[in-house]
């Protein structure tokens, strides 16, 4: 696992146009990218408001789109308070993501304070 982008908590205003992050996966990597994970988190004890919060999409060099969406409120998993939302994409098991330009778009539906972490596997 390698951290591709880590952005500290800040406020993101709700808006029509998504926030975007662009990156390139170089060709010929010795350790190819086989998974991409995005984690968006709020501070403990400061959950987002209820209802849909955001939509995240990742577009690859071939135009293929993958994504996820999430809502607010305080999440609990296995009895443990969860202060983040995340999604991890893989292609066919073991195959790498193709080299080229990638664009990650964050559509914010309600104004929230959040931190963003993008990891590659």
């Amino acid at each position: 696992m390698t951290i591709f982008l880590s952005r500290a908590s800040q406020q993101y205003a709700a808006r029509q146009n998504p926030y975007t992050v662009n990156a390139t996966i170089p060709a010929g990597l010795a350790n190819p990218v086989r998974g991409i994970k995005v984690t968006i988190s709020h501070a403990a004890g400061a959950p987002w408001p209820a209802g849909p919060i955001g939509e995240v999409s990742l577009t690859g060099p071939d135009g293929r789109l993958q994504g996820f969406s999430f809502s607010g409120g305080q999440e609990v998993f296995r009895g443990v308070q969860v202060n983040s939302r995340s999604c991890m994409w893989e292609i066919q098991e073991g195959e790498p993501f193709p080299a080229g330009a990638y664009a990650m778009a964050f559509k914010v539906l309600q104004t929230v304070t959040a931190a963003v972490l993008i990891e590659r596997f």
Binding site: G63, L65, S71, F77, E93
Partner: protein, 519 residues
């Protein structure tokens, strides 16, 4: 086209209300399977397909048994495919899913075999068994799923299946999918192992398109070399044929019908993962070799009209494993042969060695030369080395529950170090020596018979029924520690008898009867 499973795309989410898989290139006409886990109380909606395929209603939803999570599977037959094919799973509330988008290519237009579907939950822990319900036709892809509610890092395994899984139980409702290409209408075993108490399982078949079984992967050369290599899955036949030269089939992942190489020169089949029907290397002259076969369910054969025929490294041959040649015929390193393991040579050397388990027969036969069965771990029926002339030997059979026999019309016939021979352990030689030695337990009969020459039975731990050495020449039974009943006999027909370990009252009568009949 034979059925294959070219795409298994995974996505996981934590606290999400929808996830969309990475785009892959699929083939129109394929069957697409959508599977996901979610919290038990969260609605799993019909998935949305980027190629506008309608998945209808869920085939089945199964709880993991702990009341915490569940899994659902949808199937779209004869779907539209293409580049950038994605699937979006949506949920009624935030959840922690593992999801798979699976493509079965080469599937029938109506491919979902509802009769094969089995599903259910268990709180009994690993293994989680969920065999298929039997298939409507033989050629299928079997898909088997499991979901558990266990935390920690999980390792899912299912023997015979290619498994894709999610291991992170701390962040997701994990699960796994296993797929296997089969050629049977019988129920297919699915036994999941994972460190979990609660688990739900689903198994069903996707039918191969009609005519798919007739598809062959073939390389043919009138002269020269014919090669088939790297065939991941050949559901019909993978064969290399050369009228002259070399024919080679290598690295075949799964061959559900026949895998063969035939040539006038060398014919080789190697590194076959699973061959459910016949794996054959045949050649009119030269060497025929089948090696490193993972599992040959029906027959694994290397035959050569002259030269060497070799089968080696066979993991499991449930019916027949044979090497047949006019020269040297060898079967070695066979893990488990539940029916027949045979090395046959019309002339020369015939050898079966290092067999861990043979369910029916282990046989080495040579018309002339040496016939040997050695290190047979467990032969539940017969371990036999037979030849017309020369040496015939069965050695180190750990457990031979039926019969361990070494016989030869001339030369030496030997059975040695048989740990347990429940029925008969015998060495027979028409001329020469017949020896049975170091049989720890022979519950029925231990015989060494030589019509001329020496017949010897020695160092037998316990012989519950009869232990005898019969010979025209020298007949010896020695060091028999415990003969429970009736007969311990060293019968002298021609010359000398000596060295009985134990004699009982009934022995004399038997000997007398034999001698009387000879007069």
């Amino acid at each position: 086209m034979a059925i294959t499973v070219p795409n298994v795309v995974k996505i996981t989410g934590s606290g999400v209300t929808s996830v969309t898989t990475s785009g892959v290139t699929t083939t129109t006409g394929g069957t697409f399977v959508a599977w996901t886990t979610a919290d038990d109380g969260v609605t799993i909606n019909k998935p949305t397909d980027s190629k506008s395929n309608d998945y209808g209603t869920a085939k089945v939803t199964v709880s993991t048994g702990g009341g915490t999570s569940k899994q659902t599977v949808y199937v779209k037959e004869n779907g539209a495919g293409g580049a950038g094919h994605t699937l979006q799973f949506t949920y009624g509330a935030a959840t922690y899913p593992t999801a798979f988008f699976i493509e079965c290519a080469g599937a029938a237009t109506a491919s979902y075999d509802s009769g094969s579907l089995t599903s259910g939950a268990s709180a009994s822990g690993s293994p989680f068994n969920r065999n298929s319900g039997g298939q409507a036709q033989a050629a299928n892809a079997i898909l088997t799923f499991i979901a558990t509610d266990a935390g920690g890092t999980l390792t899912y395994a299912n023997s015979g299946y290619t498994v894709s899984s999610e291991s992170d139980g701390n962040n997701y409702w994990t699960g796994a999918v296993g797929r296997q290409i089969v050629n049977t209408t019988s129920a297919v075993t699915s036994s999941w192992t994972v460190s979990a108490s609660n688990g739900g399982t689903i198994t069903f078949a996707i039918k191969e398109a009609t005519g798919g079984g007739a598809t062959t992967t073939t390389a043919t050369a009138a002269a020269g070399a014919a090669t088939v290599s790297g065939a991941a899955q050949s559901t019909a036949a993978a064969s290399g044929t050369a009228a002259a030269g070399a024919a080679t089939v290598s690295s075949v992942g799964k061959s559900t019908a026949a895998t063969g190489g035939s040539a006038a020169g060398a014919a080789t089949v190697s590194a076959v993962g699973r061959s459910t029907a016949v794996t054959t290397g045949a050649t009119a002259a030269g060497a025929a070799t089948v090696s490193a076969v993972g599992a040959a369910v029906t027959g694994t054969t290397a035959s050569a009209a002259s030269g060497a025929a070799t089968v080696s490294g066979v993991g499991a041959a449930t019916t027949r494993t044979a090497g047949q040649a006019a020269g040297a015929s060898t079967v070695s390193g066979v893990g488990a042969s539940s029916a027949v393991t045979t090395a046959t040579a019309a002339a020369g050397t015939s050898t079966v060695s290092a067999i861990s388990g043979s369910g029916s027969g282990v046989t080495a036969v040579a018309a002339v030369g040496v016939a040997t069965v050695s290190a047979a771990g467990a032969a539940t029926a017969a371990s036999t080395a037979t030849q017309a002339a020369g040496a015939s030997t069965v050695t180190a059979a750990a457990a031979s529950t039926a019969k361990a026999t070494g016989s030869t019309s001339a030369g030496a016939a030997t059975v040695s170090a048989t740990a347990t021979a429940i029925k008969a352990t015998s060495a027979v030689s028409a001329a020469g020596s017949a020896v049975v030695s170091a049989a720890a337990l022979a519950t029925a009969m231990v015989d060494a018979i030589a019509s001329a020459g020496a017949a010897v039975v020695n160092a037998i731990g316990s012989s519950i029924a009869a232990t005898s050495g019969l010979a025209q020449g020298l007949a010896t039974v020695s060091a028999t520690t415990g003969d429970v009943s009736p007969v311990v006999l060293g019968s002298l027909i021609g010359r000398t008898r000596q060295a009985f370990g134990i004699r009982e009252s009934r022995q004399t009568a038997t000997r007398t009867r034999v001698q009387t009949s000879r007069r």
